[in-house]
């Protein structure tokens, strides 16, 4: 390598470092730790957001256990189980993507994030199919809600909580897939390096959090009826 190209390589390197290290930080480690802490604080507020709805679920299920079991029988067990497996697998690919970012493997990073996005879209499609089935089955709360068994008002309450919990979870999935789309775009352009990949790490933390929410929604909504099939 000639002396001039060596020099230009160094200046490119310096420009990259300047770009990725914000001026208030002394070094990349400090910047990364601050970014990660911010994400965990945000996730704590998200825990409380879903926690409020889950508290409503606990209080109503405690008051009307039979109506909730009867409501849960109408859940699509296979769809819910498949979606759980899809989300866990998507989380694996996101975790592997962070691994690739740490090592600076750009192509692997882009591939793994794309696979995770695809799995996220699969999840949302299956969720949409479930909503369609509930719609056709007149299980959407409101004037068209139909219930043959006893206690229709409280069975309807189960479906209110079902749509709120899974609806907000699905919204988080849409946001998660969108964030991954941005990350894939910038990753393909080579923005992330072993020193600087905070957005990849933080997007991954968000994705795993949304996965954890589903890990709890699955038994709460799908597994309390004993009579799926």
């Amino acid at each position: 390598m000639s002396e001039s190209s060596q020099a230009s390589a160094w200046s490119v390197r310096e420009a990259l470092d300047r770009d990725s290290l914000h001026e208030q930080y002394a070094e990349h480690d400090q910047q990364r730790e601050s970014a990660k802490l911010g994400m965990w604080v945000f996730l704590a507020t998200e825990v409380m957001f879903f926690g409020g709805m889950i508290t409503g679920y606990i209080a109503y299920r405690d008051a009307y256990p039979a109506a909730f079991r009867a409501g849960s029988v109408h859940m699509l067990f296979m769809a819910g189980t498949l979606n759980t497996a899809i989300l866990i697998s998507a989380s694996l690919f996101v975790a592997l993507a962070v691994h690739a970012a740490q090592l600076g493997e750009r192509k692997t990073l882009v591939w793994f994030l794309s696979i995770a996005m695809f799995l996220g879209v699969c999840f949302l499609s299956i969720k949409g199919y479930e909503y369609y089935e509930h719609w056709v089955d007149h299980k959407v709360p409101g004037p068209s809600f139909q219930w043959d068994g006893p206690d229709p008002r409280h069975a309807e309450m189960f479906f209110v909580l079902y749509f709120f919990l899974t609806g907000f979870h699905a919204l988080h999935m849409v946001i998660g897939v969108s964030i991954l789309a941005f990350i894939v775009y910038f990753a393909a352009r080579g923005r992330y390096t072993p020193e600087y990949h905070n957005p990849v790490e933080n997007a991954a933390l968000y994705w795993h959090f949304v996965d954890i929410v589903w890990i709890f929604l699955y038994p709460m909504l799908y597994l309390i009826g004993h009579k799926h099939v």
């Binding site: 704590a44 508290t55 975790a95 090592l103 004993h226």
Partner: protein
């Protein structure tokens, strides 16, 4: 670089355990354990969540204590929310209110 790089094998092993636990919780739901069904299902869900937090979210390898604090504090706040709410709903019938 102070960041811990977790081997790929670890991630895949955690994924395999999570898939097994999903199959387990789905299968157990077909057995009627009465009140215990919920306990078992939530216990398995807590186990799965712990694995995701520890390995996928790297908490196990986290050196910054402040992140451990925030992770723990989320669970503590959630517990307070559940406990104080149910402390109200579960105890409403304990004392007879005159005239009601």
């Amino acid at each position: 670089m102070t960041e811990t790089v977790v081997p790929r094998k670890t991630y895949v092993a955690v994924w395999a355990v999570l898939m097994c636990l999903t199959a387990l919780t789905g299968a157990v739901s077909f057995i009627n354990l009465g009140e215990w069904s919920t306990v078992v299902a939530i216990a398995i869900a807590c186990g799965k969540a712990t694995l995701v937090i520890a390995f996928f979210m790297h908490l196990r390898y986290e050196k910054q204590r402040i992140i451990w604090v925030w992770a723990t504090v989320s669970a503590v706040w959630l517990t307070i929310l559940f406990l104080l709410t149910m402390n109200d709903y579960l105890t409403r019938g304990f004392l007879r209110v005159p005239g009601k």
